[in-house]
């Protein structure tokens, strides 16, 4: 069976989640690989969630928020834009390609952009292949021995 990446998407309630909804309402086709978790703001996305997602077997994580200046909570996305680059360096230290973590701005009216970003991300992860961390391998071996 061909490799289908599992991607976790953290979408802010006001822009990106609505944008994703619009993509659906507008019947825009996009890859089904992104599994969406709604948060009120992209600033709510605790870095621990992202690491946990990778640990649980996600091949990629995408965080989406409002465009800078458009945040419903005024400046939540500015917190996010500071956190994600740090986190990219951190995941690189864990042996995770930083390209597996993405931050994108999608506004409530950008259904087409949501689809484009999702498709791009899916293609990129597909090319990178499944994420193999030591925890995953250990789990696999344990399963084989059992």
């Amino acid at each position: 069976m061909a490799f289908e990446p599992k991607i976790i998407g953290f979408l802010c309630n006001w822009c990106s989640y609505t944008g994703a909804d619009l993509a659906g309402v507008s019947r825009i086709k996009s890859a089904p690989n992104v599994r969406v978790i709604r948060t009120m703001c992209s600033g709510r996305v605790d870095p621990a969630f992202i690491l946990k997602a990778f640990q649980l077997g996600a091949d990629g994580v995408i965080v989406m928020g409002c465009h800078l200046g458009d945040c419903h909570y005024q400046e939540g996305n500015y917190k996010t834009i500071r956190r994600i680059p740090f986190l990219k360096r951190l995941v690189a230290g864990f042996g995770i390609d930083p390209r597996r973590l993405r931050l994108e701005w999608v506004s409530a009216s950008e259904g087409d952009r949501f689809a484009k970003v999702v498709n791009e991300m899916t293609e990129e992860i597909r090319a990178l292949g499944p994420l193999k961390l030591s925890v995953h391998q250990e789990a696999e071996q344990a399963a084989v021995h059992a």
Partner: protein
């Protein structure tokens, strides 16, 4: 009050009024050439000389500045006065024989040919007759004090300081306004500064913004008003009987506490100058739709007459649709209202002139109630519809001769041919676009915009008047191009929504809030500075942070940042999100 006799007529006036004013009241004409209501009597032309008789003595005085006293007898037509006026008029006429006001006055006083010969005879029709009106205007009314007299006797002349252009001159045009001979001319055409937004004519510094303005009171443009530059003038205040003009008023910012807001900020008109091919702003008689609307208006610059710049009626009018709209270079959307107002223009032009009318359209969109019927009626009225967007407007002559005019080049897609249509006037149907500062307003109220730049509604079908922000509603062209019936419908709906919340008296809010589990809080204060609403305070006594639930909007930024997981967000706790994550990984 005192009573005086003018030419035997008794007249009752206030003491100290001038004889000239008293004579005006008595209906007696006294000739003047240097007098104006604008400023104090000057008394240089001497034409207003009259004879004042008191008892046995009589003397000649100037009526314009001589105050009346009780029992005074004034003769304005005695032999002595007539002789004096004749001499004065002859002297004036001998020096400026061709000036219209001088000739008219001489005629009225019965002076035909002067007996004198002036050494400084000036044949010009618009010669300066040294009446001093401009000088007095500049000094007393405008208070700029730029104009003055130089030299004496027959060398006397009106000059600017050092005979040079003066920085002190505010170019108000008052001197040219009072000059009786036309000697002073304004060389800048639109010296009054800005052109009005709604009419094509220049606007005076005090004006009523539009006839529909509410309240319908005039406003003063402080940039061009003389008073705000020199402290002088105040002509409008003097003319205003109820004393309603207050120069001390200032713009003020008023804080009003409200619970709900309706954004109805309207639209801007696309600047057709960005499409150089249509010649807007470059060629004469090319108008935007709003300008043409003001031409059609009976209170507009032409009084509702459809005329070209040279005052003639156009022989043909071209109306070009979709300027800046349905155009991938500018706005991809349709402005909706243009097709119908273009038909209205055609109807009115047909009604008021005998001009031929050409409409250049991409598609006719007569979408509303009764619109298609109106379109059919217009077709019967005999306008020419050309399907194809005009390529350009160029200067050209009608069939190679006659006065220069305009030509519209286009492709007629129905007959598949390239055409050149000669017209005298072009009306462009500019696109409706979002206000230039709509982004500022949008961010102020946390409202999103759709890709076209207009405010985004909560749901395009089910909730077109409210926004993602509770209590903020939108209506009209701020939300997207629409015509008047649609705007009224949307605005009424928004108003009803607002009223329903007011009558309820209370609002439901999202239960999503952050909360500190105080036993875990280490008091690091990291969250305190993250909150954009200042909802988190540090309790000095217990050394923990505390969330003010009334201020918290539930964004969760603090929850994500808390290093000891003491902060939790209702509805979006760490445990809930991790459980979601677990579920998604299956």
């Amino acid at each position: 009050m005192v009573t005086i006799n003018i030419d035997g007529k008794p007249v009752e006036v206030l003491e100290d009024t001038t004889i000239l004013k008293a004579a005006e009241k008595a209906g007696v004409w006294i000739p003047t050439m240097c007098h104006s209501e604008y400023f104090e009597p000057y008394g240089v032309c001497r034409l207003c000389s009259v004879e004042v008789v008191r008892g046995k003595r009589s003397r000649i005085v100037t009526a314009c500045n001589f105050p009346v006293r009780g029992g005074m007898n004034v003769l304005t037509n005695s032999e002595r006065v007539k002789w004096l006026r004749k001499v004065i008029m002859e002297l004036t006429l001998s020096r400026w024989p061709n000036v219209r006001v001088v000739r008219e006055m001489a005629e009225r006083l019965g002076v035909a040919e002067p007996r004198f010969k002036s050494l400084e005879r000036d044949e010009a029709e618009n010669a300066c007759i040294l009446c001093g009106m401009c000088v007095n205007m500049c000094n007393e009314v405008v208070k700029a004090g730029v104009l003055g007299f130089a030299h004496t006797g027959i060398k006397r002349e009106v000059v600017l300081p050092f005979d040079e252009r003066s920085d002190q001159c505010i170019v108000c045009g008052s001197c040219a306004h009072v000059c009786p001979t036309g000697h002073i001319k304004m060389i800048l055409e639109d010296y009054r500064g800005k052109r009005s937004e709604f009419t094509l004519g220049p606007k005076t510094p005090i004006y009523v913004p539009t006839l529909q303005a509410v309240p319908r009171v005039p406003v003063i443009d402080t940039e061009s008003c003389i008073h705000f530059q020199t402290d002088g003038c105040e002509t409008c205040a003097k003319a205003c009987e109820p004393n309603a003009i207050d120069f001390g008023m200032k713009d003020e910012i008023v804080d009003i506490e409200v619970g709900q807001v309706l954004l109805a900020t309207g639209f801007d008109l696309f600047d057709a100058g960005a499409m150089a091919q249509y010649g807007y702003g470059r060629l004469d008689n090319v108008y935007s739709s709003l300008e043409f609307e003001s031409i059609l208006n009976s209170t507009g610059p032409t009084g509702g007459k459809i005329v070209m710049k040279n005052g003639k009626e156009p022989r043909a009018v071209g109306i070009i649709h979709c300027i800046g709209s349905r155009d991938t270079n500018h706005h991809p959307y349709c402005s909706r209202v243009c097709c119908m107002y273009a038909l209205k223009f055609a109807h009115l032009v047909k009604d008021r002139t005998s001009a031929a009318i050409y409409q250049f359209y991409i598609d006719m969109r007569a979408f509303g109630k009764g619109y298609e019927e109106f379109y059919n009626r217009l077709l019967d009225e005999g306008i020419t519809m050309i399907r194809g967007k005009a390529a350009e407007v160029v200067e050209g002559k009608w069939s190679g001769e006659g006065e220069p005019s305009l030509k519209i080049r286009c492709e007629d897609t129905l007959i598949g041919k390239f055409r050149e249509i000669p017209v005298d006037m072009v009306v462009l149907c500019n696109a409706i676009e979002p206000r230039t500062d709509s982004d500022v307003i949008r961010r102020l109220f946390s409202v999103s915009k759709s890709p076209d730049g207009f405010f985004l509604e909560r749901h395009p079908k089910l909730d077109p008047t409210s926004t993602a922000t509770d209590g903020v509603f939108i209506a009209g062209c701020a939300q997207g191009p629409k015509d008047i019936p649609d705007t009224v419908a949307q605005a009424s709906s928004a108003a009803a929504r607002i009223l329903s919340l007011i009558s309820k008296g209370e609002v439901e809010i999202e239960p999503v809030r952050a909360m500190v589990q105080e036993e875990y809080c280490s008091g690091c204060k990291i969250c305190n500075n993250l909150c954009p609403y200042g909802a988190i305070e540090f309790l000095q006594e217990s050394k923990v942070s505390h969330v003010n639930e009334a201020l918290c909007k539930g964004c969760g930024t603090c929850v994500a940042a808390c290093p000891s997981s003491a902060m939790t967000g209702h509805g979006f706790t760490d445990a809930q999100i991790l459980a979601e994550l677990d579920g998604l990984m299956v």
